[in-house]
Symmetry: C2
Subunit: 688 residues, 2 copies
């Protein structure tokens, strides 16, 4: 069977569109794909996650990354949190130690995020010592919490009167979002309620403070919204869902809740911002009042009511955290207005505002979005946290629809921009992820704003959550990662899936079914959008399965020991960017399977800036075992511009000059920047 | 005969190199030009200018430009100088009016530059009313001059104690340079000494103040140096040549004369800078102390003694004014150290730091040079004054050597970057000259720093000076501009040359000789570096003339009525930039004859950003009489990137997609920006 090569294209779920009161055209196939069958679309299916504990990863590609996170990054980050005072802040706030608050006023959140990540580790890899460390920290946090449930060490230590006075920038709710996520993760991993109870007290405090008939307001930095829905799911307590909805619905008021707050803030008081004393109104002035005549809160997606939003704007992490929460609300309530907004916002990101590596947010000045097709390479900001947030949002969109388009994008972000965010040693990180470097870029062990390292800590051990889903009719395989998963079918019967693959290096995946008794259900196997075709075999026999919205459906009576194999060619492709992405004109990006490649100077004799890859230059891949435990490199023969004849000229007529060939080697973006300083380019010129 | 297509390449004059103690490789021909005869090089020949009064321009291409300057720009600029207070400053300084000084502290210079330009106009187009206006102004200036010869209305009105205390930035000598140039021009045009005498008194004042045994110091902004040499040539007074040499030789001392001055400047006193009050040390701090630990005067080319300089650095106008003065000194003295430096500096500019349009100085922050091959397009600063300065320097290099390479570059600057600096109406101007515009750029009627409009005023009416030269053995035709010139041969006999051409639109030039009696002399006809071949006929008969260093030499007994015709194909060429010019990768610039073209949105249906001009797309030229009195456009069939199939995708594999053709029209850069706002690009993509 063949699939349209329509990449990242609008593989729209008609029913989703109908639900949102919108109609969409189908995927626009390129002229060369006219012979391919048009993709079939599926009515939206609500998918459930498999609990993390039911999934075990044992995969040649992912094991080194996950192990490095578990063995080195977890310890490295903990040490940084100790050395930088984040842990001690809780002791000071509890009155058990003396001193000043250290770190940014949202320093608590990084502790919580680390705890969340470690909880996920414990879910699949019990470790009494790590658990004890967590327990100690939880006790310290609990001791710092005020009797009314409030907790924020910066406010408690440095500026108690500022409590809830600066929702626009003081990040109290943002930090509580991390606390709640950590509490839920810890409870689900260990069954212990200590951290969950701290989180519940904090959430109850927020719920007692904000809401209809109580205070107005919402958080300048989103996160608490989806955390509250996680808490609702963990506890069944509807109030948390309602509070999340309230916080979403507070956005976009006229005047903005943040403008009202600004008016109340003293023009003379100051606050600490990363070690500098700034006016307490300073960040509002900088981010909401760039034009002093106009209070513009698009930076935090407060420019319009959420149901009226259509364009991804402002700070990228804030944006995708918001959209993820909106998707969670739709999942729980079916809110059609939110869904319609999500579809528009998703188009805004995926069709106009996303890097080919699955990252977002090109601009440094707002750590976020600027305008359509604004995707510079050298100055790409593409914050690691934003990449992860985008993947989380796509995972939620997948759960809402069963549409493989979202799985494609989740995979894209995880396998490229996200993995590029951490070194092979696991102890240095990217905050920004450039698409091109002149050789002066390297990862850092820590940052004054260390959100990205702690995001990385909490992302790797949760990868198991994204591989499988389930629906009423069966199981879904979203990602191709070796290991095992156990699920309960709708009838209560348990089924185990064992996945074996060398993906992404190779395109063959085997799934073996383990069942106590034969069961009829559908196995939905993702067929990646990038795959030009695929084959499916069940117990060695070719099967012609229907593919709808990116998943091949195999419904049958499954018996113990049944084996399904799905395979797709992992071809090297040259990708072109939309013509409106001006910096990518005349350039291609190389992709093989889900991996986007880059040229690094270390692998190339010619200056990477001078390498041209003509359209007719053949490319092959080669397994290089000496690199990072085995990596498929892309190699070929390009040409170089900087021929000796240029020695004494600045401009000259184009001639049919001799082409000087040069070998070209590309490495997955995921592995870049691990071999010292050197130039790097994702987008490669096709003409001199 | 064929010429190497080696464009802007090092067509080195071996004897110049020998004089400078250097050896150079010959021109590196491209691989396709191996069949062309290597260019012959000529021992350097010192050329003399023909006095402006002896040259009359009557040319279809240049007449509209020159006439517009004479008819409109001269009046427009005078009105601006009146309205902005520049003229009144002299009355205030003379005590004939009350008020504050207006304009920048170098506001006088723009008055002098206007007077210089008007004097050139009078040299060939007597105009009693204009002459009377000049006389009135001269009286006003003379009245403002102090008895000791000092004159600077800012210092006299606003800050008398600051006289000669801030050579680094107060531009007193810079302004006097304009006065001296104006005085010489006025004297030569009218025979009147009034302004020349003001200039002499000012120059004598400087000479009495600065020099060996007197004060040390030189000007932060060069110009007085070449003005003093012009004064030396006009008066025969050696002191002015020596003073110019002294001022050149003051550069590059350790510690710098400007650093010594900085130490003397008060840290508490202030000055006016464009209407803002800044510390009197403020500009030193900004431009010489960007790194407070290091006093770095490369901004004004004071980082090294002039004979040790090799790289064009700092403010571009300052740089080329310096190099022009150095060339004048070499012309007068044969100073071998200065010549060697000039050759190195010329390579630095012409081989590594010049736009394809003949402009220089890419960077806004220093209005100048940054580093080799740093030639951004959209942010190209390329100040109009710097373009003219570069042309003036190349004219002086031509006079030093008789090497057509410099005539090529002078022509390039004049026909492209310079002409782009003024609108067809003659009343709006470019200060910066972008190489690409997103449609938001337009020329301005005036600037707070209006140096470029007054530079334009003084450049057009002097064009006659650059067309011809003479040497002991005969006459040189440097530029192809219709009109007449009268020269005296070495034996005192007068010869008149009548030039007829439709250059640059066509490549045929006819020269008719008018003589009282037959005379033997050499006619040196420039063969442009861009010409792929040429033919020469004398009285209708083909002649095989030797071409050396870019000039065809025709030595014979010339009789009255003899006619020489030289012709070269005016082909359309695609130019490529040196591979180290990263922004021009995958792009070509179109050139036809000496004219560099650009795509303007007004002429193209497809979005200019989306037009691709594949290497195989044929191009033709077409005379468009409806535009600017008749312009040769370049037209062809390109392709457009923004095909409808891109509607719903952000990235996709490169396919052998249908090429959607689109007509492409290019217009000479000289004419851009005259038809409302619109996108413009000089460099055009060759691949999607």
């Amino acid at each position: 069977m063949t699939r349209s090569p329509c990449l990242f294209a609008l593989r729209k779920t008609l029913a989703v569109a109908a639900l949102a009161g919108l109609t969409f055209a189908g995927c626009q196939s390129g002229p060369d794909s006219s012979s391919a069958s048009p993709p079939t679309e599926r009515a939206p299916v609500k998918l459930k996650e498999l609990p993390l504990k039911q999934v075990r990863i044992d995969d040649p590609f992912w094991n080194p990354w996950i192990q490095s996170n578990q063995d080195r990054t977890v310890a490295h980050v903990l040490k940084q949190l100790q050395d930088n005072g984040n842990l001690r802040n809780f002791e000071i706030a509890a009155g058990k130690a003396q001193g000043q608050h250290r770190g940014p006023y949202w320093a608590d959140s990084d502790v919580y995020k680390w705890m969340q990540g470690v909880s996920y580790v414990l879910a699949t890899h019990p470790d009494p010592q790590l658990e004890a460390t967590l327990d100690g920290l939880i006790a310290s946090i609990a001791a710092a919490q005020r009797p009314d449930g409030y907790i924020n060490t910066y406010v408690q230590i440095a500026d108690p009167p500022s409590r809830w006075t600066n929702l626009g920038f003081q990040h109290e709710m943002f930090s509580l979002g991390s606390l709640i996520e950590a509490g839920v993760a810890h409870f689900e991993a260990t069954g212990k309620r200590a951290l969950l109870d701290v989180a519940i007290r904090a959430a109850d405090h927020v719920d007692n403070t904000f809401g209809p008939g109580k205070r107005e307001g919402t958080s300048g930095h989103q996160q608490i919204e989806f955390a509250l829905i996680a808490l609702y799911r963990a506890t069944g307590e509807q109030r948390y869902l309602r509070l999340a909805e309230f916080l979403l619905n507070e956005r976009g008021k006229k005047p903005s809740v943040f403008e009202q707050e600004y008016e109340r803030l003293s023009s003379t008081r100051t606050m600490d911002f990363l070690g500098r004393t700034i006016p307490v109104r300073g960040l509002h002035d900088r981010f909401y009042r760039r034009d002093p005549e106009k209070f513009d809160t698009s930076y935090c997606q407060d420019h319009l009511p959420v149901r009226e939003q259509s364009e991804a704007v402002g700070h990228a992490v804030r944006a995708v955290y918001l959209y993820a929460a909106m998707a969670d609300v739709v999942y729980e309530t079916g809110d059609a207005g939110l869904l319609a907004a999500l579809n528009r916002l998703h188009d805004s990101v995926a069709l106009r505002r996303m890097y080919v590596t699955g990252g977002i947010g090109p601009s440094a000045h707002n750590e976020g979005f600027e305008k359509d097709y604004d995707l510079p390479n050298e100055s790409a900001y593409q914050e690691t946290c934003a990449t992860v947030g985008l993947a989380l949002w796509n995972h939620r969109m997948l759960k809402l629809t069963g549409d493989g388009r979202y799985a494609d994008l989740m995979e894209l972000s995880f396998y490229n921009s996200f993995l590029g965010g951490v070194s092979q040693e696991g102890n240095t990180f990217c905050y920004v992820n450039p698409m091109r470097s002149d050789g002066d870029f390297k990862r850092s062990p820590w940052f004054s704003v260390p959100c990205c390292p702690t995001t990385i800590v909490r992302t790797f051990p949760r990868m198991g959550s994204y591989i499988y889903s389930q629906s009423d009719d069966g199981l879904w395989v979203n990602l191709f990662i070796s290991g095992e998963a156990t699920a309960k079918l709708a009838n209560g019967q348990e089924v185990k899936l064992r996945q074996t693959t060398h993906y992404p290096w190779e395109g063959a995946v085997k799934l073996e079914v383990e069942l106590a008794s034969p069961q009829e259900f559908t196995l939905h196997l993702r067929v990646p959008g990038w795959a030009s075709n695929h084959t499916i075999r069940v117990n060695g026999q070719d099967v012609a399965a229907t593919v709808a919205s990116g998943y091949a459906d195999i419904r049958r009576q499954w018996s113990n020991g049944d084996a399904v194999e799905i395979a797709f060619p992992v071809d090297i492709e040259r990708l072109q960017a939309h013509p409106s992405v001006l910096p990518d004109h005349g350039k291609v990006a190389l992709r093989r399977g889900p991996l986007v490649y880059c040229l690094e100077q270390q692998d190339n004799q010619a200056d990477v800036d001078q390498i041209v890859l003509p359209p007719d230059a053949p490319l092959t891949s080669r397994l290089e075992n000496s690199l990072f435990g085995g990596v498929q490199l892309i190699t070929g023969q390009g040409i170089r511009r900087d021929t000796p004849e240029w020695a004494k000229e600045l401009y000259r007529p184009v001639t049919a000059a001799s082409r000087e060939g040069t070998p070209v080697t590309a490495i997955p973006y995921a592995y870049w920047g691990n071999r010292g300083l050197g130039k790097m380019r994702v987008w490669v010129d096709v003409a001199p």
